[in-house]
Symmetry: C2
Subunit: 190 residues, 2 copies
Amino acid sequence: MIQHNDAPNELLFLTSNEGKYNEASFIMNMFGIKLVWRKTEKMEVQSDDVETVALEAAKAAAIYESSPFIIEDDGLFIDCLNGFPGPYSSYVLIKLGLKRVLKLIEDDRRARFKSAVALHLAGRFMIFTGIAEGTISFAKKGDLGFGYDPIFIPDGAKRTMAEMTVIEKSTISHRGKSFTSLAGYLKKFH
Amino acid sequence: MIQHNDAPNELLFLTSNEGKYNEASFIMNMFGIKLVWRKTEKMEVQSDDVETVALEAAKAAAIYESSPFIIEDDGLFIDCLNGFPGPYSSYVLIKLGLKRVLKLIEDDRRARFKSAVALHLAGRFMIFTGIAEGTISFAKKGDLGFGYDPIFIPDGAKRTMAEMTVIEKSTISHRGKSFTSLAGYLKKFH
């Protein structure tokens, strides 16, 4: 049970959003409770870069996983949408689907896929990254691959990633680059 | 320095995505490294509900903050977009802006705001929630409030939340409800 004397006279509100603080403070004041604004950076793990997301996930997994392991995070960053959907690519795909994403694209169709592989090995964390530059197609095309592959045309190619076999895709994809870099690192020890 | 014998013969790949595993496995095989699929739930803290986001943020903050404090997470859940942008509302607003969100809305304009306040008091965590049902307007309207207020018309109102003063908004908003509930809890001890 919380005791009577545990009830605080004032309460810290940890938020980066002044508007939220003003509203909440108004409401709590009506009840005679004082909110004190403790301005903080956004605390949810909602990082804008795949490296951080992969590393944080690896750190969390290392608590229970003792064998060497990797975790990958990737995302599609579309220029005209300020980098959206970025690290939220899989969430956005589930919620909106490719057609609604295409609907959002304006004149500038440039985009890039980024992949970050976090390796946990012998108590250390390392990050290997890969980027594939390209453009967003005007319509979905191809049945191979997954995710945003049907709307992404890598620079130098005339087809979407979903029109490429795993072999072709691996030579130019973001994941091909990050995993090749990981493999190169691991091969040094063999 | 990582020693020679630390190099693994096989490596766990922690992912929920079979397509990712297949691609990565293909690449690593070319280098003679075997990937083993350890199927896991998505590990990033990308929860679909504001309660979990608020609670996780509070747990993280409790490590360094000993005074009683609260953290709030809120989000706009739009029915025709399967609940998008949900807990990513602030990210989506920054990246897409209100006009692009309006562009995505189809026939069904129903939506709801959810707020979850996590309280850390006397070593315990508690969650207080509030929901405001409403519809998405056809255009931005109003200069008050913040976030998605200019496009959200609460049920029973004819104006957007951005056309309401803090006083009016607090009586019907999601945050009004969650913070009133918090205040009611705290008042029991005074």
